[in-house]
C-alpha cells in the first residue's frame, strides 16, 4: 500500500477542487499536476483516484495514454522537436543533433540539473516554418543548429520562459478577412432552427476536417433528437501531419469559428459548445479565452443569445493532452469525458449519444468558420466557388519543397499542377495530399483535382521534391502511426509496425515480391478492418507509394 505524504495530498486536493471532483475533470487535473510537479507519480494518481472516487488504474490508464502526461519526471523546460515530414525536409536531423550536443542528453532524457527534457513531438502544426519545436507551451520556428545553442543558453540564463514566438505564416487573400463580423450570426438567428439546417444543406457544405461528411445532414439528425442537453464541439485537434490551417483560423478569425458554433448550437438545440484544442496549440488559449469573454460581454454568448428568449448558449475551451487519435470525433469525446482517447463503436453515433451520452455534433474549425460565411453572404455566393460536388473554397496547408509554404485559399476543384504553380512547387516529383493518412500523388497525376469527387482532403499538401526518397516519406509516416496508434484494434496496432518493417526491407533491397504483395494485402485489410477512420487511412500513403512508385521503391540494390 502506498504511503502518501500529507503535503502531496493537500496539493492535489487543491488542484481537484479547482477543477471539480468529476471524471470530466480528470485530464485537466492531471495536466495541472504535471505542470506543477513535472511528473504524475503513483502517489498522485492514488490521491486523484480517491478524490474522484474511481479506481487508481483508471487514472493510470489515462495518465499513460497521452504524450503530454506520461513519462519520467520532466525538466523545467520540455523541448519537443517536431518529427514530421516537412520538418524533416527542412533540416530536423541537424537540429536534433544540435539539441543533443547543447543539452548533453538523448531524446527521452532529462538533464541532470533537471532544467531540460528533450522529446520528439509527432507534429506541432508548424510544417510551413520548420524545423519547429515547442519549449513548454511556446513554439519556436525555423530553428537551425546555430539557433539551438542560443535558445538553450537563453533559457539557462533567464531560467524563465521569456523567449518570443516567431510565427510568420505566408498566405494569400482569405475570404474570411472580408466577412463582416457577426453578420452571419445575425442572419442565422433570424431563421427557424429547421431553416438554419436547411440553409447549410442547401449550401452543400461538407466537413473541412478531411472526412467530408455533409454538415447539414450531421446537424439535421442531431437537431431531430430530443434531449435536455446537447453539445456542439469544435474539433481543434489539428494533429494530422502537414495540416496547420486551423491554427491560422483560430489565431486570426476566432470570431467566425465561435459564430459558426453559436449558429450550430441554435440549429441543433445545444446549450453548450466546447472547443477541443490540441495540446500543441496551448499558446492560443489565452487569445481564444479573451475572444470568448468579449463575446459573452457583447451578449453573443450566455443567456438569451441574440435576444432570443430561451436560447442559452456558452462556449468553453478544453485542452487536449497530445494524442493524434483524438482528432477522431468519438475519441475526442472520450477524451473530453476524462478517458483514454480511444474511438467508440458506432452506432450509436454522436448525434444520438455523444458527450456524456447527450446528442452531440462535432465539426472541424474550418467547417464552422465556413458556416458563418454562408449565412453572411448566402448559399448562392458560397456555391459560386468550387464544383457541383465540392462547393465553396478551402484552406490548404502547404509545406515541403516549395518556395512559398503557408496557408492558401483556393476554390475546390483546383488541380494539383495549378496549386503548385501558386506556391512555387515546380519540379516536384510527388505531393502528399491529406497528411500522413492521405495519398501520395505522382507528377504524372498532377492534372487531378483537389475535390471530394477526385482527391478529397482536409487540406494538407506536402510537396515532395525530386531529391527526396519516397521510402523515407513512407517511413516517416509509418513511424508516426506506430507512435500514434491508440492500440485499441489489431489492424492498426499491429499492421503499421509490419508496414514499417516492410519499408525497411525495401530500403535494404531485401523485400521479396511475395512479401510486398502480402504487405499490400495487409494494407487493404487495415483499410476495411481498423476500427476508426484514422486507422483505416493509416496505410494509404504506403499503398500509394508502393503502387505509384513501384519502379523506384522495389529496385533498390541489396545492402551488404
Amino acid at each position: 500500500m502506498l504511503t502518501i505524504d500529507s503535503a502531496i495530498r493537500d496539493d492535489i486536493a487543491a488542484v481537484v477542487e479547482r477543477h471539480g471532483a468529476e471524471r470530466t475533470s480528470l485530464i485537466p487535473i492531471l495536466q495541472d499536476i504535471k505542470k506543477e510537479h513535472r511528473e504524475i507519480t503513483d502517489e498522485a494518481m492514488q490521491v486523484v483516484a480517491d478524490l474522484l472516487d474511481i479506481h487508481p488504474v483508471e487514472v493510470y490508464s489515462v495518465a499513460t495514454f497521452y504524450a503530454f502526461l506520461h513519462g519520467a519526471p520532466e525538466g523545467r523546460f520540455v523541448v519537443r522537436l517536431c518529427g514530421t515530414l516537412a520538418c524533416d525536409f527542412a533540416g530536423k536531423t541537424a537540429v536534433a543533433e544540435a539539441l543533443r550536443t547543447a543539452l548533453g542528453i538523448e531524446f527521452g532524457a532529462t538533464t541532470d540539473d533537471g532544467v531540460f527534457t528533450l522529446e520528439w513531438a509527432s507534429c506541432v502544426g508548424m510544417c510551413d516554418q520548420g524545423p519547429a519545436m515547442l519549449v513548454n507551451d511556446k513554439v519556436l520556428t525555423r530553428v537551425t543548429p546555430a539557433k539551438v545553442a542560443e535558445i538553450v543558453a537563453e533559457y539557462r540564463a533567464k531560467g524563465a520562459d521569456e523567449t518570443r514566438q516567431d510565427i510568420v505564416t505566408a498566405r494569400n487573400e482569405l475570404t474570411y478577412a472580408g466577412i463582416e463580423p457577426d453578420a452571419g450570426l445575425k442572419a442565422a438567428l433570424a431563421l427557424s432552427r429547421g431553416d438554419i439546417v436547411d440553409t447549410v444543406s442547401a449550401a452543400a457544405l461538407k466537413g473541412r476536417g478531411g472526412a467530408g461528411f455533409p454538415t447539414g445532414m450531421k446537424w439535421n439528425f442531431c437537431a431531430a433528437e430530443k434531449s435536455a442537453h446537447k453539445y456542439i464541439i469544435c474539433n481543434a485537434d489539428e494533429g494530422e501531419p502537414g495540416t496547420f490551417k486551423d491554427r491560422v483560423i483560430l489565431r486570426d478569425f476566432p470570431d467566425l469559428v465561435f459564430e459558426g458554433m453559436t449558429i450550430g448550437g441554435r440549429a441543433i438545440g445545444a446549450d453548450m459548445g466546447i472547443v477541443y484544442l490540441r495540446a500543441e496549440y496551448a499558446y492560443l488559449r489565452a487569445h481564444l479565452n479573451e475572444v470568448i469573454q468579449r463575446r459573452r460581454q457583447a451578449g453573443l454568448l450566455g443567456k438569451n443569445v441574440g435576444g432570443i428568449a430561451g436560447f442559452d448558449f456558452d462556449i468553453v475551451l478544453a485542452r487536449g493532452a497530445g494524442a493524434y487519435v483524438c482528432g477522431e470525433e468519438t475519441a475526442l469525446i472520450e477524451s473530453l469525458e476524462g478517458f483514454r482517447g480511444e474511438p467508440r463503436n458506432r452506432p450509436p453515433f454522436p448525434a444520438v449519444a455523444g458527450f456524456l451520452n447527450h446528442p452531440t455534433t462535432v465539426n472541424n474549425v474550418e467547417t464552422l468558420a465556413s458556416v458563418a460565411c454562408i449565412f453572411a453572404k448566402g448559399t448562392d455566393w458560397f456555391k459560386s466557388f468550387g464544383t457541383d460536388k465540392s462547393t465553396g473554397y478551402k484552406l490548404f496547408s502547404i509545406s515541403g519543397d516549395c518556395e512559398k509554404p503557408g496557408v492558401y485559399e483556393f476554390p475546390w476543384g483546383i488541380t494539383v499542377a495549378d496549386l503548385l504553380k501558386e506556391v512555387g512547387g515546380a519540379g516536384a516529383k510527388a505531393v502528399q495530399i491529406g497528411g500522413a493518412s492521405g495519398v501520395c500523388v505522382p507528377a504524372a497525376d498532377f492534372a487531378r483535382r483537389l475535390a471530394f469527387e477526385d482527391i478529397p482532403t482536409g487540406g494538407s499538401v506536402m510537396v515532395i521534391g525530386a531529391q527526396r526518397d519516397l521510402l523515407d516519406v513512407a517511413e516517416n509516416f509509418l513511424e508516426f502511426f506506430v507512435e500514434e496508434s491508440c492500440g485499441q484494434c489489431n489492424p492498426c496496432r499491429l499492421g503499421n509496425p509490419k508496414l514499417l518493417e516492410g519499408v525497411e526491407l525495401l530500403k535494404q533491397g531485401t523485400c521479396s515480391a511475395e512479401h510486398l504483395a502480402d504487405l499490400k494485402a495487409l494494407g487493404a485489410t487495415m483499410q476495411v478492418a481498423a476500427k476508426c477512420g484514422l486507422g483505416q487511412t493509416s496505410p494509404s500513403a504506403f499503398l500509394s507509394i508502393v503502387g505509384a512508385f513501384a519502379d523506384d521503391v522495389t529496385t533498390r540494390p541489396q545492402r551488404a
Binding site: G194, D195, V197, N220, F221, A224, K226, A351, V352
Partner: protein, 123 residues
Amino acid sequence: MSKILIVDDDPDIQEACRLVLEKEGFTVGCASNRAEGLRQVAEVKPDLLILDVMMEEPDDGLTMARELRRGGFTQPIIMLTSVNAAMGITIDRDDEMVPVEKFQSKPVEPATLVAQVNELLGL
C-alpha cells in the same frame, strides 16, 4: 376519394402501400425521391403524404417535410421510415424539425397504416 402520395425510394414499399390503400378505395401515386416528390405534391395536390426519410440522401425526408411546410403544404404527413433502426438514432415527430403528424417505423402492419390514414383524413 382522397388522394395519397407515397414518396419512398423502395419500390417494394411503394407497391405494398399502394395495394393496401387502393384496396381501401384511395387514389395512390408514388414518387421515388425528394425532387420527384416535391413535383408531384405540386401537381397532384395530395390529401395525405406518406414520406420515407432515407432516400438519395439519408436525411431527405426530414428536409422535404420542412420544405413542404415552409411552402404552405398543410395536409397530413405520415413519416414511414426505418431511419432509427438503420442509423441507430431515436428521432420522432416534432413541430420544429420533424413537422409530420405521425412518425411510423417500418415495417408497419397494413391495418395500422390504414387506421392512421383514416384517422388523419377524418374518415
